[in-house]
């Protein structure tokens, strides 16, 4: 029987459905979602193995959290505050840091000495491993807030193609998207192109994430910023970076 797992974020929610044969999908609870295929995320060559190593077929979806929360579907495993009440009786809930740690340990071979950072739309969390064992963690939901959401809003507002941004050596030093806005506006008012100002802001987020995580030498990056090359390249100014994608927390659930 198919099983459902969810990482319910503030703006985006990730869903994984694992199954043994396609027939099971005909009765999937996800079919309650209108135009479900529009939210499918195809990951070429992706294997879905549970924590015991058993392989499964699977499919993943990226849903706006507004839609995710409006559909009455329960899950076999989930993470994220908004989904706590939507776990099946024999299902499992992990908080986001635990899911991140379990997911990273499952997906990264030889996770000996590295820090895994997850940047969401409104928070930042990291888990540090030493000699393959969990060593330290932190979660910033206040001063690191609204970072991802701010980038999305800025790009929409200034009609910026995120993929075309060039990493900037100069950065706007910010700890939170709310305070950043003023400095970005200052830059633009000083005739600096919006693309440059936003790239500087992205560099600022990368720098702050790196400092908040204790200035690690090696970072595995989780979350939507993995797809933001400007962010990844900015973070590389400071450390070695391996993007893991935005489904790592879900990997920690099964």
């Amino acid at each position: 029987m198919a099983k459902l797992y969810a990482d319910a974020g503030t703006t985006w929610s990730k869903v994984l459905e694992i199954y043994e044969n396609e027939k099971e999908l005909e009765t999937s609870p996800l079919l309650k979602i209108d135009d479900l295929s529009a939210y499918a995320v195809f990951e070429n060559g992706k294997e879905y193995s549970d924590h015991t190593g058993n392989r499964h077929k699977g499919r993943t979806f990226l849903l706006p959290s507004k839609i995710f929360s409006s559909v009455p579907v329960n899950f076999d495993g989930a993470t994220g505050h908004m989904v706590k009440q939507r776990i099946n009786p024999d299902g499992k809930y992990h908080n986001e840091i635990v899911a991140l740690a379990f997911g990273a340990r499952k997906k990264v071979k030889n996770l000996e000495n590295a820090t895994v950072i997850d940047i969401g739309s409104r928070d930042l969390k990291w888990v540090k491993f030493e000699n393959g064992k969990y060593r330290d963690l932190d979660w910033n939901g206040n001063c690191g807030s609204v970072t991802g959401a701010t980038v999305e809003m800025l790009c929409k507002f200034y009609n910026i193609d995120l993929a075309a941004l060039t990493p900037q050596r100069e950065k706007i030093s910010v700890t939170c998207g709310v305070f950043a806005m003023e400095k970005i506006m200052d830059n633009i008012a000083s005739d600096i192109p919006a693309e440059i100002a936003v790239a500087r802001y992205i560099h600022g987020i990368a720098y702050n994430a790196w400092v908040f995580a204790g200035k690690p030498e090696k970072v595995y990056l989780s979350g939507g910023f993995c797809l933001n090359s400007c962010f990844v390249e900015s973070l590389k100014f400071y450390c070695d970076v391996t993007p893991l994608g935005r489904f790592i927390l879900i990997e920690g659930l099964y």
């Binding site: 505050h81 908080n95 986001e96 840091i97 635990v98 740690a101 928070d123 969390k125 888990v127 969990y134 060593r135 330290d136 963690l137 932190d138 979660w139 910033n140 939901g141 206040n142």
Partner: protein, 244 residues
Amino acid sequence: MSASDEKLIGIWGYPEPSVMEEIRKKYPQNRFIDLDINYNSPESGILPDAYCRIMKNIIDNATAFQQNLDVIIASVGREKCDSGWFAANILRDMGFKVIETRFEEYGDKFRETPISKSSLPLKDKINAIMDNIIEKQDLKLTQCRPEYGFWGVPPNDLDFLDIFPHNTHVYGWTRCVEAGRPADIELEMYVDEGIPTVFFAQTFCAKMQLAKYLAKKYNGIYIDVDDTASNSVKAKIEAFIKLG
């Protein structure tokens, strides 16, 4: 919290026990009330918004119970903090009867700390230790080996303590209180090495520096909480315990 005509003796911190006994005899009809605790008293607006939540409790509670408080025994020594001394002076200036005490010297006196090492739920341990200041509790305790540690003062928000397993030992100032040595810095800095310990301080409290330093020294985790623990703070503690 208090009947409108009930007479009270307010305390905070850990006042000198002999002074408490003297006042108890002087006001035999009065009930002791620990002003450190959050009774959801209305905000007095006397202290700044960004300030230690425990000190705000003290001032807000005192003003809320002003008609009932015959006297306040104020801890103003190293067993409390400078803020306690300022609060004593503010309240005296406002017309309260305030007796200042310093409880800093103990000689060789050291009480055992069975509550800190017991298998009671963490919240019950901390409440029992603090209640002991006013009235000795008669408790049946089972000792346990520590699997986790909680270091710090009794938080304003006691509910997040429910996250901790029962085999969590208490360290820091709270254990000092149980030992009857609330300003014993050596005891306050003691933890069992190797036990995963959460080092807690109230936001804006001077003990934040000690908590952060000790967390690093003993591979623990540092948290500070202002009013109530946020979801991320709770998640950090959960993760620290689960991943430990």
